[in-house]
């Protein structure tokens, strides 16, 4: 299994940044970066990353099962993450979450039928002073209102 040339360069550099014989250290960042390109941690991807980091696929599974951002199944083209933790909760995070659920007709960690959007209620994303906040994939949106969320969702549905 190979990745885009840009990612391959990045991965090569990543592996070099740990002490010799400690390639396992690259495991989590490598899963993150390759997941971005492949979509989720497929069986094939887990095997490939295991080979590159010198671990067993079981050790990969162990890590995938632990970290929230590593996914073992396909999510939407855009992953919509809504924070409802304390700072966001105080200023409308929960309303945004409920609105997104009813608007999309899906719940936590579910994907819309057309595959365009998946939804996740997330824990604090470090945007507390600009709450309520959401992330679409890695992009932050601050001071989100229900109206803005509607617009964001409408735009995401158009993404092919």
């Amino acid at each position: 299994m190979t990745f885009s040339p840009r990612l391959e360069t990045k991965l090569a550099r990543l592996l070099e940044s740990y002490p010799k014989g400690r390639e396992r250290a690259a495991l989590i960042p490598m899963l993150m970066y390759t997941q971005d390109e492949v979509g989720y941690i497929t069986k094939e991807l887990a095997q490939e990353v295991a080979k590159r980091c010198g671990v067993t696929t079981l050790q990969v599974d162990e890590v995938v099962g632990y970290y929230t951002m590593l996914r073992d199944r396909k999510m939407g083209r855009t992953h919509l993450q809504i924070c409802t933790n304390i700072s966001c909760l105080l200023v409308g995070g929960e309303e945004l979450w409920k609105h997104a659920c009813s608007k999309l007709g899906i719940g936590h960690n579910q994907v819309t039928a057309d595959g365009s959007i998946s939804l996740e209620e997330v824990e604090c994303i470090g945007a507390c002073s600009w709450a309520p906040a959401i992330q679409t994939n890695y992009d932050f949106h601050h001071h989100v209102t229900v109206e803005r969320l509607d617009k964001i969702i409408a735009d995401l549905r158009k993404v092919q």
């Binding site: 940044s17 250290a25 989590i28 632990y66 409802t84 105080l90 824990e123 604090c124 470090g126 709450a131």
Partner: protein, 438 residues
């Protein structure tokens, strides 16, 4: 990010470059004293650097507040093994968003702090462990690192000083627990983020079982000015035993939430009313989480105090991470307690039982209290369960979950009792269940 305007009541040291044009670029950094502290430190011995940091009374800005100079002094520098520097940028304590602005607006300051720590610890390799959600910051940091290599501020024989240093970013993948230093090291090594039994501490056996200096982003960022302007100067900004300034991330029910830099010992009410623009008209202060959601909550009448370690401890809470969450009289404290415990339950790594089971049961009981189907004994049960977690877990996550819960139940007990008095069938709830409980 919509970064707030500077406020005249701030003391801007580590945030002083935030408002320059292209603040993250190496050109801006070099034009504003950038890397001068490193050059100064490169002419000092490791002991001199450590002593300067000790003199500064800098205390760890991640939350625990351990004296940084002492931590650096513990490093097993004479070990034949390589020494490492690890930066904790796994900022995930609810209410905290300060490391984010530090990396976004002044990444080279962080690199400079790391280099100085490298001199202090005879270390020549480091990693910046950044939480996975902060991907754009990983990109900013990677760019800054590339610039520093290209201009000879990282790599071999930096600026002819004879000092070598290699630095890379390392992405996390979504786990609050990895903010705990030993769990972070496990994660850095490619494993599940579960805490290690200590001792040995990272200063003796850290990353890859080698002596390691591990600090929060903000702690490293404070170091360049300590070297440049002196430990005594830095100490004088704060209070006895805790020097310097720190970033407050103010959120919740205030008119101007934002990140503000203040000296240690800054009055809490001044932070709320002046920096953050006060509460909304007609609203009254109800409670404050002073430094991230793991800190015991202060009720309004307890908030008139200076924000230093001792005053906060005397008030029964902590300075924590600087994440201040302001709650006005519209806040439902039962809901707040439930949301806080939901977080810790989700993030418990499951390694030790008091935390794994304790957070789960607290969540269950608080959920039924919030749903209005709790029984009288539930309120005391919450307190008892939480008390039983204190000091009985491998890492501080257990305490982090228990402390705020205990404080909210104790200080806002009447709200919990009111929920019992108004027993209602929750939407879609089971009526027979309510009868049993009632």
């Amino acid at each position: 990010m919509p970064y707030n305007d500077p406020h005249p009541a701030e003391t801007r040291i580590i945030s002083r470059r935030f408002h320059l044009a292209n603040p993250a670029s190496i050109e801006t950094f070099l034009a504003h004293e950038g890397y001068q502290a490193f050059l100064k430190a490169s002419k000092m011995t490791p002991d001199e650097v450590v002593n300067e940091v000790k003199k500064s009374n800098l205390r760890g800005r991640g939350g625990a507040g351990f004296p940084t100079g002492m931590k650096w002094g513990f490093l097993a520098r004479n070990s034949p093994k390589p020494k490492y520097i690890v930066v904790n940028a796994d900022e995930s304590e609810p209410g905290t968003c300060k490391d984010r602005v530090l990396i976004e607006f002044d990444p080279h300051r962080l690199i400079e702090g790391i280099l100085i720590a490298g001199i202090a610890g005879d270390a020549h390799r480091g990693w910046v462990y950044i939480r996975g959600e902060y991907r754009y910051l990983i990109d900013i940091m990677d760019k800054a690192i590339d610039e520093a290599y290209a201009r000879g501020w990282l790599g071999k024989n930096i600026q002819g000083t004879g000092f070598d240093f290699e630095l890379t970013t390392h992405s996390g993948a979504g786990a609050y627990e990895c903010g705990e230093e030993s769990a972070l090291l496990e994660s850095l090594e490619g494993k599940r983020g579960q805490p290690r039994i200590r001792p040995p501490f990272p200063a003796v056996s850290g990353a890859f079982q080698c002596p390691t200096i591990l600090n929060n982003v903000e702690t490293f960022c404070a170091v360049p000015d300590i070297i440049l302007q002196g430990g005594d100067w830095y100490a004088s900004l704060g209070v006895p035993k805790a020097g310097g300034t720190r970033l407050l991330c103010i959120s919740g029910h205030v008119q101007k939430p934002g990140v503000y830099e203040v000296p240690i010992g800054f009055p809490m009410m001044k932070a709320i009313n002046e920096l953050a623009g006060g509460l909304f008209p007609g609203r009254k202060l109800k409670a404050v989480i002073p430094g991230g959601s793991s800190c015991p909550v202060l009720a309004a009448h307890e908030c008139d105090l200076p924000m230093d370690y001792d005053s906060m401890a005397k008030a029964g809470t902590m300075l924590g991470s600087g994440g201040m969450v302001i709650m006005d009289d519209s806040t439902d404290m039962v809901k707040a307690a439930l949301r806080i415990i939901k977080f810790y339950q989700h993030e418990s790594c499951g390694w030790c039982i008091p935390c794994r089971e304790g957070t789960l049961w607290l969540k269950k009981i608080l959920t039924r209290l919030d749903d209005g189907i709790g029984v009288d004994s539930d309120i005391d049960l919450v307190g008892e369960l939480a008390e039983n977690m204190l000091g009985r877990t491998f890492c501080p996550l257990g305490d982090a979950a228990a402390l705020p819960t205990i404080s909210i139940v104790k200080k806002f007990r009447s709200e919990f009792e009111a929920r019992l008095a108004h027993v209602q069938v929750p939407k879609g709830g089971n009526e027979s269940l309510v009868r049993i409980h009632a």
